[in-house]
């Protein structure tokens, strides 16, 4: 255990020294704080309309301007952060649960079980999932929880591969053999011996999955198949911005900047985490 904790403290040390990753982390903490506190700090409600005002450029009253219905853009971006980040974390969580369980089982049992399970992953890899998500949204309606599940169900494949590889390399080590000899059940083997030893790669990949999930959600929202009004995610804000960008360019630019900065922050933090936990790969 002492060896393990020093690995983690080493990693934290390396992470703290990585400037890009720290900037990313600070931006993320700020964003998450803003998202949680949106009802407190947002100057207006996300659905409050001021039709007389209409679309107005940024001013002291509306820092980022208002949209065509006179809704305050800053407030809508803040509330949008809640949806976008929520989708990012929940869908990644779904992907994590499926991918980790699949990978542990395949890697630990090996043999025929492994062959069949990984062949399924290979086949699923080759399919156009984005089309299936669109299909599901069309058939079952545009439901937020369905969206979480559908995106999560798509993103678990790489996680399963990573976890399987890690478990395969662990399962012949002495501590696993010792645990087996003690007659430990499979479930506690997974939970108490394997999982703690592969937390690093899981954390790294999860961080890098969040931006992809957020991209997918905003992609769907952009096509009009994701979050429905009056709720807004950053994807729907960008969609609205595109529709009126010729006259009211701020409606596209501010949500676009927010979204891009968030993706940057997540990617930098994820890369930093990877370098910190696995210094070997830092060259790529």
């Amino acid at each position: 255990m002492s060896n393990n904790s020093s690995l983690w403290s080493d990693a934290v040390g390396r992470l703290l020294k990585n400037k890009a990753a720290m900037v990313g982390a600070i931006i993320l903490i700020l964003l998450i704080g803003c998202a949680i506190l949106a009802p407190v700090i947002a100057p207006y409600s996300y659905s409050f309309q001021n039709l007389d005002l209409g679309a107005s450029p940024p001013s002291s009253e509306h820092l980022l301007g208002t949209d065509i219905l006179g809704r305050d853009l800053l407030s809508r971006i803040l509330y949008g952060a809640r949806i976008s980040l929520l989708v990012g974390f929940v869908a990644t969580g779904v992907a994590l649960v499926i991918g980790v369980s699949w990978g542990i089982v395949a890697g630990y049992f090996g043999g025929r079980v492994d062959q069949i399970m990984m062949r399924i992953v290979d086949v699923l890899y080759g399919l156009p999932f984005i089309i299936f998500i669109i299909l599901l949204m069309v058939i079952f309606g545009r439901n937020l929880w369905l969206l979480f599940g559908a995106i999560g169900a798509v993103e678990w494949l790489t996680m399963a591969r990573i976890v399987r590889g890690q478990v395969m390399s662990l399962k012949n080590q002495e501590f696993v053999l010792a645990a087996q000899a003690m007659g430990i059940s499979n479930l506690s083997m997974f939970r108490r011996h394997l999982l703690p030893n592969i937390l690093g790669p899981i954390a790294v990949y999860a961080t890098l999955t969040i931006p992809q999930v957020m991209l997918l959600e905003s992609f769907l929202s952009f096509l009009g198949l994701g979050i429905q009004p009056p709720m807004s995610s950053w994807g729907t804000l960008i969609k609205d911005g595109v529709e009126s960008m010729e006259e009211y360019s701020w409606l596209l630019i501010y949500p676009g900047i927010t979204f891009t900065i968030t993706l940057f922050a997540l990617n930098f933090f994820g890369d930093g985490l990877r370098d910190a936990l696995d210094p070997k790969t830092s060259d790529n």
Binding site: P128, F222, V242, L252, F259, L263, N267
Partner: protein, 307 residues
Amino acid sequence: MITIILKRILLAIPVLIAVATLTFFLIKQAPGGPFDAEKAVSPQVLKNLNAAYNLDASEWEQYTDYMTGIAQGDFGPSFRYPGRSVTEMILTGLPVTFELAIYAILIALIIGVFSGVLAALKRNTILDFIPMAIAMIGICVPTFLMGPLLVLIFGINLELLPVSGWNQIPGDKLLPSLTLGFAYAAYIARLSRGGMLEVLNQDFIRTARAKGLSETAIVTKHAMQGGLLPVVSFLGPAIAGLLAGSFVVETIFQIPGLGRFYVEAAFNRDYTMILGTTIFFSAMIVFFNLMSDIAALWLNPRSRDES
């Protein structure tokens, strides 16, 4: 190697059948029939419509009919546009999407490989940092943001390029192709940089240097073959991504391609069109993945010798 390829092809067929079956029965779960929108259709007319589209047969019968149709290249009639068949619509949209995808992938390959190889050769210099920073932007700015921004800058503010249409005004193909290709250029730049860095440290490169080969010959003849392997394996999944990207790009630039048809069909609940395009897209993606696997196998001497 031939056995591996044959195995892959044989595996692709049941996968496609499974996709077609799954999609077919999923679509059958969709609430509401295709003729719900037509108001006040008399029962007799509805009955005739259902008979005309074979909707009164049992589900199993409809399924077998549909599958035999697909095997002969017939995806059935469109529910939304009477008189037009899904096959016909796919065939009109396909060349447009195909052309767009080819331009995009060419742009991505040329920019991506060039800047990636250059970055690897001039590691840790300005020629490494700047392309890689731009690549990071390319990865973080989604297509649906990049497209409108390019339109805003080059189309509306600078009035340099047309902002919509396809093959109508000279230059109208440039912005959509760039939009679609840029993100992939970024990925390819990163992949080729990583791949080249790995190869350039290997012994056979040192041998080539020791033989006194010119740097150009070392890079183009020896290093790039191995160094670009990750790019080749990425091309298959990239095609899948390009198709999804075409949904957005064709919507933004109002291009009459398959992607836009698909999004429209999804909105109009044109179920036969959704079904047909889904199966068609899947077939294309499975095909391109197969191609990229074969190319990667062929380029990698280790797997070539194995069988």
